[in-house]
Symmetry: C2
């Protein structure tokens, strides 16, 4: 939901706006979510963020198994990358645009509200994971890591081509 | 400082090691900065970080020109991405590994101390740029943006293939 529309909806005043105004606001709203990522660069943009998120999820997984450095700075760095990338990646699902090389299913755009709900759930888990990595407590990190991985999978299952 | 070296330094035993051992340990330490990125994934990893850094530098540039949203949250988000990616990207310059698709010149690895110095200078500017975006002051952002772009170029000129 774009920043222009939210305050209006929050105030429950949408019904008082003329249809043309609502349409214009919705158009702005839809654009504003991804307006900053040019459509022709959207695939590369989001794949870059997912590459880094995935890499640091793997790194945390290895650290939890004792196969990678698990000093506090290394863990917190991964937490920072995962959390920021969880927000960055989803800027890349702009309307239309080139889909070359993308594994995102067309259902993403057809079911945008559901997709965004799953996205927000994942981002919320990533915030908790970041906090856990800052604490350095391995049990806390393990729990938050599991919840984040589950939230990733909840979206990959319906929306990512196998 | 790499994790291999740290415990030794922490225990204050470095003076008891032979010079050759110290040299070897320091080499490991230098390597460990990128040891978390597998060599076969290094190109994709660093290019992902550079893609996002470049995208947000363009976004800030557009915002400074009035061609993109310049609300404080949008600016600060770009500052966050640029600063974190400035640290993430340079994990990807691991020794050896596949260079397929990379535009990084072989001189990067031949002149690693100089390359790292330029990297650190750029990262320092990115820290200032992040702080400027958080302030929301456009003159401050403009100055920090210029200094960061200059620091990017200082490394691109000798080390990035045209």
């Amino acid at each position: 939901m774009g920043s222009l529309l939210e305050p209006i909806l929050k105030k429950g005043k949408l019904m008082y706006l003329k249809p043309a105004v609502v349409t214009a606001l919705l158009a702005c709203s839809a654009l504003s979510a991804g307006a900053q990522v040019p459509a022709e660069k959207a695939v590369k943009y989001r794949q870059s963020a997912f590459t880094l998120m995935g890499s640091h999820m793997s790194r945390l997984s290895a650290a939890l198994k004792g196969d990678a450095p698990s000093d506090k700075a290394a863990l917190a760095f991964s937490g920072d990358v995962i959390e920021l990338m969880s927000r960055t990646a989803f800027e890349g699902f702009v309307p239309g645009g080139d889909q070359t090389g993308s594994k995102a299913q067309p259902e993403v755009w057809k079911e945008m509200p559901k997709f965004k709900e799953l996205t927000k759930a994942m981002q919320a888990e990533a915030v908790k994971l970041r906090a856990a990595t800052q604490s350095g407590d391995s049990a806390e990190i393990k729990a938050a890591f599991g919840a984040t991985a589950k939230a990733c999978k909840a979206c990959h299952d319906p929306y990512l081509a196998k």
